[in-house]
Assembly symmetry: C2
Homo-oligomer: 269 residues x 2
């Protein structure tokens, strides 16, 4: 089963384009709850309303071996039908990229991973070689400084469009998607027009201020899907108290439903 | 003590601009030698002839918790006077980058780290905030596909020159260097002219085919220094047998001496 098949199946089963980012910051957990049990509770509270989970490796690496243990436990706990995206943003020369791909796809067993494009094709190839896994290449990121380099104009078009173009050229195994921030809806629209059927992983909703209506309007493909809307902090820390899991479910449910409502409106127009 | 002070001190003491990359691939170790004892032997064999070590995290991450344990043991084994650069090439939005910086500088305790520029200033700032640590921003990498994006022309200059320019603008804590591949000596020269006093971390000598004479000619600053020439595979796997440490020392010694000879010639001209 490819990543795409697994993702489509989860989207269908849970009627959801919502991805929950497991960016678990131990300094923000409710009293008496450790990272592993926090993640388990978040998964239990959202497993029927998400299409994917996306742990960001930085939050686990900051805690060394203990963090890596929590990450492994969390991955083992995700229901087998829900794909898990390793948000690692790796990028290195080919020989090294082979080891990063092994770390993410074999050692940790992610279904997909985020990859940085700056080093070009031979840094991406070791990942796409895993035909049953997916990669999401950073294209236009959600942060303010994204414009420092990603917007620089090359031959009349911003750099991020060149990345999108190359991603399509490289996509012979049909397993490349793009990361595009919700905080830049116009850029999202440009990328969708350039890549009509490429899956887009869209962070930036919630704490970062992106707007669901704009994301659905600019990001969805012609089937009304083709996007994974990621939310992390707004779901994980919806409540800082013992009701955190129920609160997380509430926020996640509202987001899933809002996304679906906007999709229905869009199909209606 | 800043990273720069520590590096200068090691350069002086060992009369060396050579950095040994600890990219330890367990499939290439001599029979009966494990990764931790291999690294210890390499360090013992080279500690008086290098100015820095540079473990590449991919090789450790590929082995999960066991790999991380080897990395920690290796870091603890490096003599305190020799700086260690974490070759991680991380890059993420500010909130996440804070956790990557913590992972590399606090949890693992590296003296410096490599960082990917694609996400712009707010992805770099959490690293440079550690004023006693160094960062090396990827500028022109050593791999073949570096040209896919790094050479794209923006306002008459390749993208990598814009990265070099921004790095200088951001360098208010005086702790930013650049990664420039030995395999592109002309580009190295352009970057040195743009950034006369920026430390350059230069991979690509050895297995990747870069040339020491060209690196010294194009890369050194006006004091005849300002470069860290990194070699990994050519040193680590100089022999696949039980004499690996002596063979590694031989190759490392020859490289250190060749770099110094080229520096002397250059000063003589």
């Amino acid at each position: 089963m490819t990543f795409d098949d697994k993702l489509r199946s989860a989207i269908g089963k849970n009627n959801s384009l919502l991805c929950v980012g497991l960016d678990t910051d131990v300094s923000r957990l409710p009293e008496g709850v450790n990272a592993a049990s926090f993640n388990r509770a978040i998964i239990d509270a959202t497993r029927d309303i998400v299409c994917a989970y996306k742990p960001n490796l930085a939050f686990y690496e900051a805690r060394g071996i203990e963090g890596l243990r929590v990450l492994e436990e969390t991955l083992a706990y995700v229901p087998s039908g829900i794909p898990v995206i390793g948000d690692a943003k790796r990028g290195d020369i080919g020989n090294t990229a082979t080891f990063y791909a092994r770390a993410l796809f074999e050692t940790l067993g992610f279904d997909a991973a985020t990859v940085n494009p700056y080093l070009g094709f031979d840094s991406v190839e070791p990942f796409i070689r895993y035909v049953d896994r997916g990669i999401f290449l950073l294209c236009r990121t959600s942060n303010r400084s994204a414009r420092d380099f990603q917007d620089l104009v090359v031959d009349g078009r911003p750099l991020f469009e060149h990345v999108a173009h190359k991603a399509m050229e490289w996509n012979t195994n049909n397993n490349i998607g793009l990361v595009v921030g919700a905080t830049y809806p116009e850029e999202l629209g440009r990328i969708r027009r350039l890549c009509p059927s490429t899956p887009l992983l869209i962070p930036g909703i919630g704490s970062q201020g992106g707007d669901v209506e704009a994301v659905v309007r600019h990001g969805t493909d012609e089937t009304g899907a083709g996007i994974l809307v990621n939310v992390s902090r707004a779901v994980l820390y919806a409540s800082g108290c013992s009701d955190f899991a129920a609160a997380a479910r509430g926020v996640a449910c509202d987001l899933r439903d809002e996304i679906n409502r906007r999709r229905a409106n869009r199909r209606g127009t």
